[in-house]
């Protein structure tokens, strides 16, 4: 009797996992089935159009790459600096403890709230307008908590003996961090950065909130240019009643997923290298 209950429970639990995996499978099959026929070179290189068969994704792809590159340039130095402070300098101070709690809380704030922050501060107060720069600043704030957390983990894997050896040779604290600790932690830091960026590149709500455009017939040509991104373009197509636009949305999702997959592959490659490098 006890054994049977145990078996039922085991089947139930395994069934849950199978259900989750089946959903992922259904999602992929559905998107590929709808979008693969529409996905060709013309689609990737064409601009937005009112006619679904002429419409392409180039402007949104370019917009996504602009925004995400700028986000990386902002989030990497800020996130690493904050993590170095928390991990190497201020570990015991009250201010550091307060900042830590604050970062943990920020990581759980809904992304659309960051959109309202970006709208209030970057778009209006700082007068950036609805530009690539305003979008990247918003996404950088959104990505920072994750970058900081993963950087701290990477810094923690650097053995203490490395630091002590450096101090013994007369190096200062900053020299030790800059020349020894950071280079060793770099692959881990980059992995975390890429993973947080791959989340940011799928973000839609905060960019809609700061007023990124949903219809734009050109690719951005600088940081002050108005822009749209892949997820917003997909959202725009999904919301239209014509079936042909839904096909476009599915094809757009395939482009977005390909971009995500590429970024994740780079992250996995770096993680792999990192592990091999740190093996004694």
């Amino acid at each position: 009797m006890k054994q049977r209950a145990d078996l039922v429970f085991r089947v139930l639990a395994l069934g849950t996992l199978v259900f989750a995996l089946a959903t992922l499978g259904a999602l992929l099959v559905d998107v590929i089935g709808d979008g693969a026929g529409r996905l060709d070179w013309q689609f990737v290189t064409s601009l937005a159009s009112r006619r679904p068969e002429n419409a392409g994704i180039y402007h949104a792809l370019a917009g996504s790459i602009w925004v995400i590159t700028l986000t990386a340039l902002l989030a990497l130095p800020l996130g690493v600096a904050a993590a170095v402070y928390l991990e190497e300098y201020g570990t015991r101070s009250r201010a550091a403890r307060f900042i830590e709690i604050n970062i943990a809380n920020l990581a759980a704030v809904p992304s659309i709230i960051y959109g309202l922050l970006g709208l209030g501060v970057f778009v209006r107060l700082m007068g950036m307008g609805r530009s690539v720069l305003a979008g990247a600043c918003t996404l950088a704030l959104l990505a920072l908590p994750v970058v900081i957390l993963s950087t701290r983990e990477a810094l923690r894997t650097v053995p203490g003996s490395i630091r002590e050896g450096s101090y013994a040779l007369g190096a200062t604290k900053w020299q030790t961090i800059w020349h020894q600790v950071l280079p060793m932690a770099m692959p881990g830091i980059l992995t975390g950065l890429i993973l947080s960026l791959s989340r940011a590149i799928g973000e839609t709500a905060p960019l809609i909130t700061i007023g990124a455009l949903t219809y734009i017939p050109f690719a951005p040509d600088g940081i002050w240019s108005p822009f749209t991104v892949l997820p917003i373009q997909i959202f725009n197509w999904v919301s239209r009643p014509q079936a042909a636009f839904k096909e476009n949305a599915a094809a757009g999702i395939l482009v977005l997923m390909a971009l995500l997959l590429t970024m994740n592959a780079i992250a996995v490659f770096l993680r792999d290298r990192f592990q091999r490098q740190n093996r004694p």
Binding site: R199, G202, T209
Partner: protein, 293 residues
Amino acid sequence: MRTRRLEWVIERALFVCAALSVLTTAGIVMVLAVETVGFLREVSIGEFLFGTQWTPLFANPRFGVLPLVAGTVLVSLIAMVVALPMGLLSAIYLSEYAPEGLRRVVKPILEVLAGVPTVVYGFFALLFVTPLLQRVIPGMAGFNALSPGIVMGIMILPLVSSLAEDAMRAVPRGLREGAYALGATRMQTSLQVVVPAAFSGITAAFILAVSRAVGETMIVAIAAGQQPRLTANPLVPLETMTAYIVQVSLGDTPQGTLEYRTIFAVGMLLFLMTFGLNLVSTWLRERFREEYS
């Protein structure tokens, strides 16, 4: 002497970067508060919090936020019905049953499930799950709460699963061995020893999941419709707080107007709700950590 000053400058500069996060929180509170105060000058707080009609874009505007809150609660509830039991089950399986090889296959797949952009889930809810459900439930509208709720639950499942699994893995081995020594089966050990021992950690995971559901935007903006409606019926179109913010942001409501300020007032409410949930979750997790350290 010069290096020492440089060291000092660098430490200060790093501190400023770390303090930026505090500035972010302050910025969120300031932006939301300023606009919300402007909003509440024209609409009484009683009408906002307890009014049952939300029609700010109509000629005769009403500003009762309850329909939006009800929409958010209904969708989140459906998501939790999916995510909590399934997340807990898969956590128990991964932590107590699964062989190491299976764990190594399943965990990355769950990570992929968590990493799919929400706009993709919205597409999936509207164009796959809704038509599927309509075949089973004939009266169901094309926009509804049920389909995005279920899909959101699947999206949140990996979060629940991985946090609950972490909590259960932190339970000391001795407790399990004690239970086995008394003749308990694996299921009895899991459900009557490990889960109760990890209770505050699991609860923290659940609360964080609720917070995620409340703040989730794109799935509901795509698949739940844009009709604020005070209802518990999951088969009709409704609107959540987040979907309303998206709706106004997409339109061309001029800034500085009362209609425009509504998104900050709704945002403030959303922020306070999720912030409260996050605080409780953090507190529970801290308590759990203290129990086993």
